[in-house]
């Protein structure tokens, strides 16, 4: 049988060392930014900025280090679904918590 260059055994799909290091430097830079931004008073924006930077770092790790770049889209969907369900859990829980006492009815 001749060797076929299918994606899982074709090492040209390997993340180049230079890309690994570039992503790493970007992650370090984002960490420095998030620590610096924590000391600035941006009132209500502090949390969204911190979470935004964390999400950017997460996307870098997932796209490059976790090789979603070369993965089947099914893997994207699976990972995305985890975050979608987490978002549902947080949003529905918080809408319950925040709306307590609005109706003036016991238990609501």
């Amino acid at each position: 049988m001749s060797a076929s260059a299918e994606h899982s055994t074709d090492h040209s799909n390997a993340l180049p060392v230079s890309t690994c290091i570039t992503v790493y430097v970007a992650l370090l830079a984002l960490t420095a930014i998030t620590v610096g931004a924590a000391f600035l008073d941006m009132s209500f924006l502090n949390t969204p900025v911190a979470l935004g930077i964390a999400s950017a770092k997460a996307l870098l790790v997932m796209y490059f280090f976790m090789e979603l770049r070369h993965s089947d889209k099914l893997n994207w969907v699976v990972m995305g679904s985890g975050f979608v369900f987490l978002a549902i859990m947080i949003m529905l829980t918080m809408s319950d918590m925040v709306s307590r006492g609005w109706l003036g009815v016991p238990g609501k």
């Binding site: 049988m1 060797a3 076929s4 299918e6 994606h7 899982s8 055994t9 090492h11 799909n13 390997a14 993340l15 180049p16 060392v17 690994c20 290091i21 992503v23 790493y24 992650l27 370090l28 960490t31 998030t34 620590v35 924590a38 000391f39 600035l40 008073d41 941006m42 502090n46 911190a50 979470l51 930077i53 964390a54 770092k57 997460a58 790790v61 997932m62 490059f64 280090f65 976790m66 090789e67 993965s71 089947d72 099914l74 893997n75 699976v78 990972m79 679904s81 985890g82 975050f83 369900f85 987490l86 859990m89 947080i90 829980t93 918080m94 918590m97 925040v98």
Partner: protein, 215 residues
């Protein structure tokens, strides 16, 4: 289909590629579950931080931001060495593979060591929830809630790091025996996915726990 991968292809798969795809999907499904596993704690954090913002701000200030930032850098570096390990396996460079796996393990251990130092400091400063808890800032009752979440979330994360360390030991042993090459490197890749995920969790834990009350 490559003959070199044949010894590692289980009987219920057609070929190495299908086995690799199945392993990858399986690991992603597990990681999606892990998102929900940690998600319960994250949701709890959101609920109680929204309810008691002042207590959480004041309590967060008690954490050592230098150690937290240092640990973040340590974990990001371990993700780099893990990615380099996977690369090394994919290009059949056994020496580079073993070195980077060992580096990943060492960095993970450094992270756990710093956590031990941090936890010890919490005990010293009476910040461990329980009968000896004593908080000097505002709203001590709800500040204790923050520390319960701190220990639960970082503790669960540390448990995952320890499991990852065990997996790395197995990989190092098998790499030493020459099991991995560009024809078969799936276990290295899968442990890599797990390790990067544990890093992801910390990427979110760090700002939520350490960077709250700094301004």
């Amino acid at each position: 289909m490559l003959e070199q991968a044949a010894p590692y292809v289980a009987h219920h798969f057609d070929d190495a590629e299908q086995q690799h795809d199945a392993s990858t999907l399986g690991m992603w499904l597990f990681l999606a579950q892990e998102v929900m596993f940690f998600g319960g704690l994250f949701t709890t954090y959101v609920v109680y931080r929204t309810a008691f913002p002042e207590a959480f701000h004041a309590a967060s200030h008690e954490l050592d931001i230098t150690l937290g930032a240092f640990n973040t850098v340590v974990l990001l570096t371990s993700s780099l060495t893990m990615a380099l390990s996977v690369h090394a396996a994919q290009v059949s460079r056994r020496g580079m593979l073993i070195v980077n796996l060992i580096l990943t393990l060492v960095l993970g251990s450094v992270f756990l060591g710093v956590k031990v130092v941090e936890y010890a400091a919490k005990f010293e400063h009476h910040l461990v929830p329980g009968p000896n808890f004593h908080f000097h800032g505002p709203d001590p009752v709800n500040a204790q809630l923050f520390f319960s979440l701190y220990f639960a979330m970082t503790g669960l994360h540390a448990l995952h790091m320890i499991i990852g360390a065990g997996l790395l030991l197995v990989l190092i042993a098998r790499s030493w025996q020459g099991m991995f090459s560009r024809y078969y490197y799936t276990p290295v890749e899968m442990v890599g996915l797990y390790w990067h995920f544990v890093d992801l969790i910390w990427i979110f834990l760090f700002p939520l726990l350490y960077l709250l009350g700094r301004h």
